[in-house]
Symmetry: C2
Subunit: 183 residues, 2 copies
DNA sequence: CCTAGCATGTAACCAGTTACATGATTCA
DNA sequence: TGAATCATGTAACTGGTTACATGCTAGG
């Protein structure tokens, strides 16, 4: 299970609240791992029971107390152990959009083409996001935190997103061509 | 939920047992959608309750009766309805291996390079599979079933796998270079 | 006035994994 | 002799989503 390890990864940069962690996930690991607050809060609680993290409460007016979580040595060891695992084989993940293409033969030609063109538009938008928002967000965080070494890998995963979207768009264009020619 | 729709997609090609469906998933949609038998059997049961499928039992000696499932008109409508959905935005999926790269800064340089090289090997193997096994499997099924129109899309998703692995390998090689230069 | 953001959480439910149960046949 | 394939399932558990609950502040 990787949610706990994602939280450890972020807490390794410094103490944060559950709410902060959610925002960081939304802004950076969104396309690698994501979770709702309703899952994050109980996860942090269990991590504290396992002594991976410690919490301190900061009272506030008109809002619930802020609860800052800090990674422990045990937590840091758990993070390193997880990072240092070698997968024996590639884990298949679920791609509902491609599953629709796999079974697309049940739809008529024009409808399939409309769907493929719709996908192209979505992926062009996503490519733009990786090239603009994602890039400037990383730059901003590096200025705020000074985590230069870490940012090398943030930037690499951002580039993966960019290359993935380029590949996806090129493949969709090929798929449109093939559908026009062969159906 | 897409498991039920995957099963409908395959049942739309002809009546099959739960066991057959599992094998087809393992051989074709494995990297788009997959499930265990312990999930497939109850799913088929619920689909029968919803009148998406109908079953007939074929007695056998020394084994449990084979249970052939057949798609109904209602099931076919549910399949088309699902295929014809336009997603409003791209759904993020979980990529544990890339998450490890994102947090790789916590490991030392040589160890990171070892992990990246290990990934290259895994993805080269996967690329080979898409180019050989996957391709000949599709050809075989087309001969057996004559589903030529459908095979256009099976082949397109196979090509996606191929392009994805090429992109992944090229990115990993770039990541190795960057790690060597910047760390 | 209403929506978004801040800040915490619980409860019910659905999806998916792991382990268990049965039992015959074939192949290395 | 032991593993793999065929063929069905159930039970317990874990992971993740949806809905609910509270309540203040700032901005359009």
């Amino acid at each position: 299970m990787s949610l706990k390890h994602t939280l450890l990864g972020f807490l390794n940069y410094g103490p944060q609240t559950g709410y902060d962690l959610k925002k960081h996930m939304d802004n950076s690991t969104q396309f690698l791992w994501h979770a709702r607050l309703s899952q994050i809060y109980p996860a942090l609680k269990r991590m504290e029971e396992d002594a991976w993290v410690e919490s301190t409460a900061a009272p506030q007016e008109g809002k619930p107390d802020k609860k800052f979580y800090m990674i422990t040595d045990k937590g840091r060891r758990a993070l390193i152990e997880w990072l240092d695992q070698f997968p024996g084989e590639i884990a298949p993940d679920k791609k509902p959009e491609l599953l629709r293409v796999f079974f697309a033969g049940a739809l008529d030609k024009e409808n399939i083409l409309t769907h493929l063109r719709h996908q192209v538009a979505l992926h062009r938008t996503q490519l733009q996001k990786y090239q603009t928002e994602a890039q400037s967000y990383i730059a901003e965080i590096v200025i705020q935190t000074g985590l230069e070494r870490e940012s090398v890998f943030w930037e690499l995963t951002r580039q993966f997103g960019e290359e993935y979207e380029r590949m996806y768009i090129a493949w969709l264009e090929q798929a449109i061509q093939t559908t026009q020619d062969k159906l």
